[in-house]
């Protein structure tokens, strides 16, 4: 029996259900390729949950525009070498058709490179021995290719963070980012799609079952079709009583799903299951939860209760870390997930966009400044016979006095052996002045020395 998800893969963008806005952006981008010069953004990133039509849309887009599709997915190794080879054969120059025939680009059509599962590059792995099987330098090669290409590229990913992290940051500037949202797929459209398939397959299925399947898939249309097919195998009539045979699907839950369950429900089972699938360590997860508590829990009493539990969970984590008593993690996780869930008196009707722990982001982005300050504090501490921590107590004072007294600033540069960045941090706008004075001073010292030596000679 043929796989229905392939058999009924949409033939055009219109057949992809839901996400109208996202599809329109895609179309607009495709038209921008109609002029002789490539558009400013030569690549798009389509991201979103599995099974909601990302790849289908990409392929359908190519069909609508008469483009040839060159597809790479995680089943191919995608190291720098391989990507470049595909890219140079496809994106940059002439190319071969899928049947192997040579198509000079002069007469040929545009080729669309689809890089599926772009967030799953195995750039480093200890499990893989053969390094040619790794995706080493893959991200960089993708970025280079986008910069050089004359052909459209679509990256597809589930996890945008994963794709953009590290060297992927540059993709932000190079690509149009298009989100496919499972919430933008109305349930009734899924039901009518399932009905259509049943009609084509000539099988009678109770509409209650179709609704149930559509409900359970949570926007994952592909899994809905798979579920339907598995119910229908070997039958031409399906009654409502068959419903128990649809098993629970372990879908790739993201942190966001768990957060939603925690904040919107008190369903311990769903929360615990979701947490297990989301695969975050409790030490990271606690940051996710605490970041988002005040966004959802607007009532102060709820907020305080939730934070109380979070802080207790944190204590367990601390103890676990210190004593290597990782058994404590399970209690901590319950407190930070289920504990926070039951902290609300009633669910909130607000529609919150849960956010990434800003703490982590800012600690990362402020690392340089913090290192700089620490280095200055160490120097001041050594000079003033105090610890760096104590030096922080009067760092403001040192700053003020040296900004008010340029002579002091100059002498501190020598005494503390400050470098350029450290001077800027301490002296602010006056750093330039200080540097000039120091240069001048150094010159004068030199001349003075020369004069002295001259005097000695005569």
């Amino acid at each position: 029996m043929e796989d229905w998800t392939e058999k009924y893969r949409p033939k055009s963008l219109d057949e992809v259900i839901g996400n109208k806005d996202a599809k329109n952006i895609l179309r607009k981008w495709a038209t921008s390729w109609n002029s002789s010069r490539p558009p400013e953004k030569k690549a798009v990133i389509i991201y979103g949950k599995p099974g909601i039509g990302k790849t289908s849309s990409a392929i359908a887009l190519a069909k609508e525009n008469g483009w040839i599709v060159i597809e790479m997915n995680a089943s191919d190794a995608r190291n720098a070498e391989k990507i470049r080879r595909i890219a140079t054969s496809g994106a940059l120059n002439e190319s071969f058709g899928n049947d192997g025939s040579f198509i000079p680009s002069k007469y040929g059509r545009r080729k669309l490179i689809i890089l599926d599962e772009a967030d799953n590059l195995y750039e480093r792995s200890s499990e893989v021995k053969d390094s040619s099987m790794l995706d080493k330098g893959g991200k960089k090669a993708i970025i280079d290719t986008i910069k050089k290409t004359n052909q459209p590229i679509i990256l597809i990913a589930n996890d945008l963070y994963e794709l953009l992290k590290g060297s992927g940051e540059e993709l932000r500037k190079l690509c149009i980012m298009i989100k496919f949202d499972e919430r933008q797929i109305p349930k009734y459209e899924i039901v009518s799609l399932l009905k259509k398939i049943c009609r084509m397959e000539n099988i009678q299925v109770d509409v209650k079952i179709l609704e149930m399947v559509a409900e359970r898939c949570k926007g994952d249309v592909r899994s809905a079709i798979k579920d339907l097919q598995s119910i229908c195998i070997g039958r031409n009539r399906v009654e409502q009583s068959t419903i128990q045979s649809i098993g629970y699907r372990d879908r790739e839950n993201t942190v966001f799903d768990v957060l939603k369950d925690i904040f919107k429900t008190k369903d311990f089972q769903a929360i615990k299951r979701g947490y297990e699938v989301a695969n975050e360590s409790p030490e990271d997860f606690i940051l996710w939860v605490s970041e988002n508590i005040p966004l959802e829990y607007l009532d102060i009493a709820d907020l305080a209760r939730a934070y109380d539990r979070i802080s207790k969970a944190d204590l367990f984590l601390g103890r676990a870390r210190r004593k290597r008593a990782y058994n404590l993690w399970s209690y901590a996780v319950d407190l930070m997930s289920c504990g926070v869930a039951v902290s609300k008196a009633r669910p909130y009707a607000v529609n919150v966009r849960y956010s990434f722990p800003s703490w982590l982001r800012e600690m990362k982005s402020s690392k340089e400044t913090r290192d700089l300050r620490n280095s200055i504090l160490k120097k001041i501490g050594r000079f003033c016979h105090v610890s760096a921590r104590k030096a922080n107590e009067f760092l403001d004072e040192v700053r003020k006095m040296s900004q008010g007294d340029i002579e002091l600033a100059c002498s501190l540069v020598k005494k503390l052996e400050l470098d350029g960045d450290e001077m800027k941090y301490l002296f602010g706008e006056r750093a330039v002045e200080v540097e000039k004075l120091l240069k001048k001073g150094a010159k004068e010292d030199k001349t003075r020395k020369l004069v002295m030596e001259q005097k000695k000679l005569f």
Binding site: A304, D308, S311, D314, L315, F383, S387, K390, V398
Partner: protein, 320 residues
């Protein structure tokens, strides 16, 4: 000016040390005898503990004091490795010169973990023939008893107002400052017996103007942090949790304060708030509980956020 005054005016000898007459006398006797026991200096910040230690070294060793005086800050390196590594290495090297021992000055020794302190006591005995320890701590009770019993203990009290005043006048004179009477009062008041604070305040004020009155002092030293911390607490009490949390993040990231620093300052700020007295005590209790949890190994960011949430709840209980 070409130096930080707290260093420029650090005493070069014991007799230059401000205040602490009895302590200085006894320490001078050690220097005259050219021998000393292990010492433990206990007392609040800015009262002269480090200065006394350095002065002893200068008087004992003369020109070679820097080679024979090894300074270590326990609050920067507080683990057992420091004791087993750096400290032991220095302790067993031979002294330079004719005194027969050298000095390890272990500043903020109360920051050493108890493991590290336990490891230290053997080192103190083993190398006592060539090495003396001077430990400084805010509270002697934070030093384990076996170490206390191996040391002569000196308690440094906050300096008296007239001592602070005398020193300020001396520096003002040396730096040609025109210092109004009310400026001196202001500095004395701000410093609360902490000479480091007093001298820093004077230098900051002097960098603004050579003629200094109380206004100059207050303006120059008006510190951002207590204001900001007060703001954060008030926002929390008003139920504006998100903005309070933003402020808290700044304290950690922009100002590099530790959780304990912030709690300490919150504690001070609370008594200036216009809220019912009973609520203040409730808040103190919560702050104490939070610090207790930090000691127990809690994460400072999460615990302090939780504290802000508690403040918000307290605020709600008396807000109309």
């Amino acid at each position: 000016m070409n130096n930080i005054w707290i260093e420029k005016y650090r005493p070069k000898s014991l007799k230059e040390v401000v205040g602490h007459k009895e302590i200085v006398e006894r320490l001078s006797a050690y220097v005259r005898a050219r021998n000393l026991p292990h010492l433990l200096f206990a007392g609040p910040a800015g009262t002269g503990k480090t200065s006394c230690a350095i002065a002893i070294a200068r008087e004992l060793f003369g020109d070679t004091w820097r080679q024979n005086f090894h300074e270590l800050n326990a609050s920067d390196e507080r683990g057992i490795n420091v004791v087993r590594g750096k400290i032991k290495d220095f302790a067993r090297t031979a002294p330079i010169g004719d005194v027969g021992f050298k000095i390890i000055f272990l500043d903020e020794a109360d920051a050493l973990t108890s493991d590290a302190q336990a490891a230290l006591r053997r080192t103190m005995e083993m190398y006592s023939h060539i090495c003396r320890f001077i430990l400084s701590a805010n509270y002697s009770s934070k030093i384990i008893e076996p170490i206390q019993s191996r040391c002569a203990i000196f308690r440094f009290k906050p300096l008296r107002d007239e001592d602070v005043r005398k020193l300020i006048l001396r520096i003002a004179d040396a730096e040609n400052l025109e210092l109004k009477e009310d400026a001196i009062d202001a500095i004395v008041f701000l410093s609360r017996g902490d000479l480091r604070k007093a001298i820093n305040a004077l230098q900051v004020a002097a960098s603004v103007s050579k003629k200094i009155d109380a206004n100059v002092v207050y303006e120059a030293t008006s510190s951002v942090r207590p204001e900001e911390i007060k703001c954060i607490v008030e926002e929390a009490l008003r139920g504006k949790f998100l903005s309070a949390r933003e402020g808290l993040k700044d304290l950690f990231i922009k100002y590099g304060l530790s959780g304990e620093d912030i709690l300490k300052q919150m504690h001070q700020v609370i008594f200036d708030l216009a809220i019912p007295e009973e609520k203040k005590i409730e808040m103190v209790e919560k702050i104490g509980e939070t610090e207790f949890r930090l000691v127990e190994g809690g994460d400072e960011k999460i615990q302090l956020e939780a504290l802000l949430a508690k403040f918000a709840l307290i605020g709600k209980s008396f807000r109309p």
